[in-house]
Subunit: 204 residues, 2 copies
Amino acid sequence: MPRPRSPLLSAEAIVTAALDMIDETGNFSFPRIARRLEVSQSSLYNHIQNREHIIELIRARVFTEPLSLPVAELPWDEALRTVVRAYRACIAAHPRLVPLILAQTVQDAGALGAYESMALALEQAGLPPQRIVSALFLIDNLVLGSAMELTAPAVAWAPPPGAFPALQRALEAPHTVEGRAEAAFELGLAVLVDGLRAQEFTQN
Amino acid sequence: MPRPRSPLLSAEAIVTAALDMIDETGNFSFPRIARRLEVSQSSLYNHIQNREHIIELIRARVFTEPLSLPVAELPWDEALRTVVRAYRACIAAHPRLVPLILAQTVQDAGALGAYESMALALEQAGLPPQRIVSALFLIDNLVLGSAMELTAPAVAWAPPPGAFPALQRALEAPHTVEGRAEAAFELGLAVLVDGLRAQEFTQN
DNA sequence: ACCTGAACACCGTTCAAGT
DNA sequence: ACCTGAACACCGTTCAAGT
């Protein structure tokens, strides 16, 4: 087939197909995108640079808009809770994306806006500058970790019967995967705010 | 080559080669293991079942011994700090392993021993049973997340010049990758212990 | 500018064949 | 029991060739 009158393909269509495939199967591939869009594999490269580039475009799509919240007038703990929950909502809609975006430099403006809001709240909390980066990492761990739990195996620990009694007792409590992930996130957020307040450098 | 008098290969040799390759490059593959051990790719399957199985064997090797600590007589916060630090020491020696072991059910006895100790400490702290699983997830996030930071890009956030001032201020503080990861872990551990203490259900 | 098919260097896994 | 080579179904990326 020669060049069609209007393009068969676009970066947007590729990103949509890839994100759908991630939500469905946990990953994407060039052959599967091409098959779904009824196009040849090599033509994808007319619209995106490579695999990494697709992931960056997905990150931008997932983190747009909801992350620049009017939060400046709230007390720091309220502001922090609000932004962290909004950040989690973005990624919890696509939990299988987490392993693909881990450990890559964040350059997307939407995501950076969320970190800016969090850094401001942490300054208001009285954290010294060099601790703010640490706290941002902790928040990242909390949000991404508890989102990953949404797709973790239902049984996260499988102790053999008769051993590890305290672990067995803890695992007896009934739960769903969603409830478990949500509970861990909310406990983590409460512990984070109260724990930061308890550090000596906080001023209130 | 027919069957040799003494085996050329063993599960141990495969695990060693795979773990070395993970430490060096962040991943392993059957062709590269076979090349390093000077053996054919298909002969690996005489000693291990598949790729997942290799990862499970690596997990068992990395988490053996240091994780059943005599911790029962310590106050809960001391016990928790000790076990969490020992857990972190295991994985911080092989930070590039983290993405490979994330989100798989833990069955290794060594690793389960660490979780048992942590569950006991959390019981002593007064956490209700259904919160203990949440707290174990938080600890996992903290340990694995801060280990992954050891191999993260030196620049975790790249805000464009002139925007995101609070983030820029936070990033100005000088740091090494190791120092940054260590600082985040220690802040997280302090926040975790103090934050747990601040929750209403704790009794001391 | 945009699509195609062929080619290349990589993967994990299976299996018949050797001793 | 343990190794081999061939085969298969997958990957990501490049490139000359079409219009």
